[in-house]
Point group: C2
Chain length 380, copies 2
């Protein structure tokens, strides 16, 4: 129940252990087509360039920026946590000019600041922001932010690592031009693969580059020779065959549950967790309207030793919760409710474990009330 | 029995299916230390910067070039197959000046041409070559080539994707400065991870760069915060936890067998395969002294339909062999004997399957002699 990787279903683990076949085997290519089709549904897009990058989410981020940012390109980057900062690093490493908009960690991206930044800067090529900040548990208003980008003729680049599968991500509906995610959050697949999708406009931008993409591995022009819809599969790199078995199975499970049902499950179990935590007297970092159900940044009670609690949970309950990052280190815990780890059993375990552990340390919490509060929500 | 991915042992597949834990979990970090230690033994190096890149071999290649090549740097690249060409692409995409030495596909890198290139060019930063060309089955003389690089004050960058674990690779003994491999060849691990190692001289070169590494994901300065020996593990990206379980198990199996024993097994089974093929009248592309035991490029008999044979082997025997690449398409098959797929059973199956399939097509081969010829070698 940390910020990811989330627990992986035995079904997905079993799929991952199937015998390795060739990355050009006809059966494998058939599976690749199924993965592409399911990813399109998950991203809610018709984008032909929708595929899993053969590396973790950070490489998915890099795939978006290295293909779309050329030397001198202006990119507005919104930073309200760790991952916005990483976007800035990407823009600058590829020679782009980063116009940085900063919001306090724990708050969403301020739409008005973004409008102002576009008003002050001409010829902005792209707006980049994090939909669901894993470092803080904040959801930003992706739809409005994409609208502002389009109103100003810019591409919208979106980090959906923690949002995809946990809350609505509507690539075509919101007009996202380049998006990347990870497998190890709400898809509950082992880490190592990054689903990405590029709009036709983004594909055009890649094709019209003046300079070669400064990466061979992530060059979408090349990757599409292997993953594209042309029928012919040209070897680019050796695909991580078993990791794609796992992703395929996780996507099948997502289809079985239904995407909207998965979102509703995340929301309901978040509500239960929240009721239990609040009954104990533990509050949230993020305002209610911007809270992610799948990642709960909760305030560490006064005087409590952060690391001692996390170590006790891990040793006594085999339960991982995440530490705060950056300025939030020691101030918050990050409790994940992601994918197959988002269950009633985990919510109750976490509440009991926290209550017992904190009570044993004489922390200022109310005891004996959390479980009932959560159970009441679950019974609704 | 193609050019990789090779068959994966059930032990490694079972390891891969272990429950996913956090990439900062103390138990996982303990396993990372073991992986690093075993990789050092496998590479025969004391290099502190020895670690598995969280992506396939192509990304390992990119990790070497993106860290070591700065705009304007001169790099001599030896091309005698597909992968030398990819090295050239890497050098150029990172702004380097590529001095290309070409040798015919199927022959090793010509040491004299490399000496001449150094004589003709000043201030060469690095020499890059492929130790074992997967596209042709050729072994080049890595030791001599590294010596030439050092004699001229240049770094030696080596592709060991197909060599590592199948033939001797001696990083410290030969003075290799940057090396990358893959898990899916002679280590018989699923594809998706690339072991790399950088010498202290290479690390110095990265630290003394004038420009930032044009990749965030592959920047060795950052990756070392997570994989380095400092004790503290700073989060960089989410490691592909299950893929590293698999690599760990494959490395344990390699230690159980012993590295020298693994090389001897590859050589002996190559000898058996060769005896059988030659008895049938099928010859090799590569001269005997430069042949890789783990990758056999064999000449397709006159008048035989390449694809029809490979399809028949796959459908009737569930046996994959590789097609030729580039100019060698239709002219050779690439028969892999890699890692756990390098077994007596596979050699005999392959010979029988080829003999029956070719005989049914009235190909000009001798029948009824291959199995005995191979068995005689195996009995030695």
């Amino acid at each position: 129940m940390g910020p990811g990787p989330s627990d992986v279903s035995p079904r997905v683990l079993a799929a991952m252990a199937r015998p390795t076949i060739g990355h050009l085997d006809p059966e494998f290519i058939r599976m690749m087509d199924e993965v592409k089709g399911m990813l399109k549904k998950l991203f809610k897009t018709e984008n032909e360039l929708t595929l899993p990058v053969s590396a973790p989410g950070s490489a998915g981020m890099e795939a978006c920026f290295v293909n779309l940012v050329e030397p001198g390109d202006k990119v507005i980057v919104c930073q309200n946590g760790v991952f916005g900062g990483r976007m800035k690093e990407n823009v600058e490493r590829f020679g782009g000019e980063c116009i940085l908009i900063q919001d306090e960690w724990g708050t969403p991206v301020d739409v008005e600041k973004v409008k102002a930044a576009f008003a002050e800067n001409d010829n902005v090529k792209a707006l980049a922001f994090v939909h669901a900040e894993t470092s803080t548990g904040v959801r930003s208003d992706a739809k409005s932010l994409c609208q502002i980008a389009h109103d100003n003729g810019a591409l919208a680049i979106v980090d959906a690592v923690t949002s995809l599968g946990g809350i609505d991500v509507d690539v075509d509906g919101w007009g996202i031009d380049a998006i990347y995610s990870g497998t190890q959050k709400c898809l509950s697949c082992p880490p190592g693969i990054s689903p990405v999708s590029f709009s036709d406009k983004a594909v055009e931008a890649v094709k019209n580059r003046k300079t070669a993409v400064p990466s061979w591995f992530l060059d979408k022009n090349l990757v599409m020779g292997y993953w594209g819809g042309s029928g012919k599969r040209a070897y680019h790199h050796t695909a991580p065959v078993n990791s794609l078995y796992a992703l395929h199975e996780a996507l099948v499970m997502m289809e079985e549950e239904g995407l909207e049902n998965a979102w509703a499950r995340h929301q309901k179990l978040h509500n239960a967790l929240r009721a239990g935590l609040e009954a104990m007297g533990i509050g949230f970092l993020v305002n209610e309207e911007s809270r992610l159900p799948q990642l709960n940044s909760v305030l560490i009670p006064e005087g409590v030793d952060d690391a001692a609690v996390r170590t006790a949970l891990l040793q006594n309950y085999n339960l991982e919760i995440g530490a705060g990052l950056g300025n939030l280190a020691g101030k918050v815990w990050r409790i994940g409710l992601m994918g197959t780890a988002c269950t009633q059993r985990n919510v109750m375990l976490c509440l009991d474990a926290l209550e017992n552990t904190l009570a044993a340390m004489n922390a200022p919490i109310k005891t004996g009330v959390a479980a009932q509060a959560a159970a009441a929500v679950l019974a609704e």
